[in-house]
Amino acid sequence: MRLSPARVSAHTVDRLGRCATALSTLGTLRLTGALLGLVFLTWFPVVSSSYQIDFMRDTLLFGVFALSLDLIWGRMGLLSFGQAIFFGLGGYTLGILATHSGEASYLELLAAIAVPAAFALIAGYFLIFGRVRGAYFAIVTLALSLVLMQLAISWRSVTGGDQGILGVPQLRLPLPGFTLEFTSSMSLYYAALVAAVVTFAITRFLASGQFGLVLSAIRDDEDRARFFGYNTSVYIVLALAVSGAIAGLAGALYTAATTYIAPDLLGPVLSTEVVVWVAVGGRGSLLGAFLGTLIVRLLEEVVSSQLIGSWPFFIGMFFLLMVFVFPRGIAHVLDGLLRLLAGRAARLSPKGAPVHE
C-alpha cells in the first residue's frame, strides 16, 4: 500500500493545499539560494587564508553530521542525544584501521561508514523494538555516548586512551590512471564540499520520496502510520542506520582531514552541540542543518576568543532559547524572507511553512 499525502495527516494536507500556489516560486527561490551558496562555497578557498579554509572544511563536515541528525530528528521526530556516537565510531574506525594498514583508502572509508551503521542497526533494534521513544530514547542515547567515550578513554591499547589517535594517515583514493591524494588544505576542503553535496542529495532524495513520507507520517503520528500497515519500527531502525552511516562518513573524513581522533568526538559535548546546530538551522530543514552549523560555529569562534571557557554556558542558553524563543530556527526566518521576495506573503497563513515541514 502506498501512502498518499492524505493519509499522512489532515494537517499536512491543509498546509500543502494552502501553499501549493506559492510553492513553485518559493521552490525556485530556494533552489537559487542553494545554488548561490554552492557557487560561493566553491569559490571560497580561492580568496581565503588556510585557517579560514580549514574552518570552513570542518564546518562542512560538521554540517554533514548535523544533516544526519536532522534526518531522524527533524524529519522523523526521534531525537538522538548521542549522535556523536556515530561520528566518533566513524572516526575511530578509520583511525584504527588506517594506522594499522598504513593507509586510508576505500576499504577503511567503507568500514568507517559500515561500523556506525551496524551499531545503529543493533542499538536501534533493541531500543526501537523495545518501544523506547521520545524522551527515553534521547536519554538512553546520551548515556550511550557518555559510556562509549569513557570506554574510548580507558581502552588504551586500541584507542590510544585520553590522547586518542594522532597521525592518522591521510586519505588516498586510487582511481584508474591516477590517485586522488587528500593532503593539501585545498583538496581536503573540496573533499568535504563534495561529501556535503552528495550526502545532502541522498538525504534530500530519501526525505522527499516514499521513504520520507513514511518518516513524516511517523513524526506526525506513529500509531496512525502503524494502522495503515507500515511496520514503523523497521522504518525507524532503517532511518537510524542511514543516519549512522552519514554521521560515520562525516567522522571519518574529519579524522582523515585533521589526522587525529579523540574520545570527546564520541562524547556528550559533541552529541548535544549538534542538537543546537540543527535547532538553530531549523529542525527538518536539510539546508538549515548546514546554515545552523555555520552560524553557531562562527559564534563559537567569537565567544571562545573573548571569554575563554564560557562556551558551554552559551550552549546551555541556546537550549533554553530553542525551547522558549525560536523553536523553528533560522530556516523558518529565511523562508519568510523568501516568501516576501516571492510576493506571496499575504496569501499564506502566518504559520504556513511548506515543504520543509
Partner: protein, 285 residues
C-alpha cells in the same frame, strides 16, 4: 576470601544507597509528571557543595548534612516553578530545556567555586571491624542513611495522605484533579522533595570523591538506568532497579575496570529494555 566478599557486598550496598536517593527523586518526578529532569545531577553537585561551604565555614558535617535537603528542595521548587511548569506535555522540550539548565548550573557553580576539585573530610575517619573485614565507618553511615531515607519515602508513599494523593495522580491525573486534588501544587512539592533527596545524596558522596562542578552527570546517567530498568513511576521499581544496577556494577567492577563495568551494565540495561519494556520490577507501588 570471606572478608573480601563482605567488603564487596558493603561497597555495593553503599553505592545502592546513594543510587536509591538519587533515583527516587528522578523516578517520582518521571512517574508523577512524565518529566525527565536532566538537571537532576546538578542537584547532587549542589548538595556536595553545600558540604564544601559548611566545611569552609568550619561548621561540623552534620550542619551540611541537614542543610543540603532544604537547599536542594528550594532549588528544585524554583526549577519547577520557573521552567518545568511551562513544559508539561512537551517531554522532548523538557529534555532540551533541562539539559540547557544543567549546563548553565555547571558553569554557574564553576564560576563561583572554581574548576579545581574540592575535597571534603570524612567526618568519622575511622574503620570498624565487620566480621573480620575493616570497613570505613563512613560508608556504613551512608548505608544506614540510604535505608532510613528509603524507609521514610516508602512510609510516606504508602501510609500518609500525601502518599495517597501522589499515588492517585500517578494512576490518573485528570481524575485526581477532578476529585479536588491540587495537582499543580503537588507537582511542585514532589519536585522539591525529589531534588532535596538528590542534594542529600550529594552531601553523602562528597567525602568519598573529588567534588567538581561536573560530578553530577555520572550519577544522573546511572540513576536514570536504575529507574528505566526498575520501571518508571514505581517506588519499589526504583529500589529494585537501583539494587540491580548498583549490585551488577560492583560485581563486574571486581574483575574489570570501572568503565567496562559501567559500559556492560548499560549494554545489559538496553537489552533488558527490549524484552521488558515496562521494567523488571513494575509493581503497584
Amino acid at each position: 576470601v570471606l572478608a573480601d566478599t563482605l567488603t564487596q557486598v558493603l561497597n555495593a550496598a553503599s553505592l545502592i544507597s546513594l543510587l536509591i536517593l538519587i533515583a527516587l527523586g528522578l523516578g517520582v518526578i518521571l512517574g508523577l509528571m512524565g518529566v525527565i529532569n536532566l538537571a537532576h545531577g546538578e542537584l547532587v553537585t549542589i548538595g556536595a557543595y553545600v558540604l564544601i561551604v559548611a566545611t569552609n565555614l568550619q561548621l561540623p558535617f552534620a550542619v551540611g548534612l541537614i542543610a543540603a535537603f532544604p537547599a536542594g528542595a528550594l532549588v528544585g521548587a524554583l526549577i519547577e516553578r520557573g521552567m518545568i511548569h511551562f513544559l508539561y506535555r512537551r517531554p522532548l522540550d523538557t529534555i532540551l530545556a533541562t539539559y540547557g539548565l544543567s549546563l548553565i548550573l555547571q558553569q554557574g557553580i564553576q564560576y563561583v567555586f572554581g574548576p579545581a576539585p574540592r575535597e571534603a573530610n570524612d567526618p568519622f575517619g575511622t574503620a570498624v571491624n565487620v566480621l573480620g573485614a575493616y570497613y570505613p565507618t563512613y560508608r556504613l553511615f551512608i548505608i544506614a542513611c540510604g535505608i532510613v531515607a528509603t524507609a521514610l519515602a516508602l512510609y510516606m508513599f504508602l501510609r500518609t495522605d500525601f502518599g495517597l494523593t501522589v499515588r492517585a495522580i500517578f494512576q490518573n491525573r485528570e481524575m485526581a484533579a477532578a476529585l479536588g486534588i491540587n495537582t499543580d501544587r503537588m507537582n511542585m512539592i514532589a519536585f522539591a522533595l525529589g531534588s532535596g533527596l538528590a542534594a542529600l545524596a550529594g552531601v553523602l558522596v562528597a567525602p568519598m570523591v573529588n567534588v567538581t562542578p561536573f560530578m553530577g552527570t555520572q550519577y544522573l546517567a546511572t540513576a536514570f538506568f536504575a529507574v528505566l530498568v526498575g520501571g518508571a513511576g514505581s517506588l519499589l521499581g526504583v529500589v529494585g532497579g537501583s539494587t540491580f544496577i548498583g549490585g551488577l556494577q560492583t560485581l563486574i567492577g571486581t574483575f574489570a575496570a570501572q568503565t567496562f563495568a559501567q559500559a556492560s551494565v548499560l549494554g545489559l540495561a538496553i537489552v533488558l529494555i527490549r524484552f521488558r519494556p515496562t521494567g523488571l520490577f513494575k509493581g503497584k507501588v
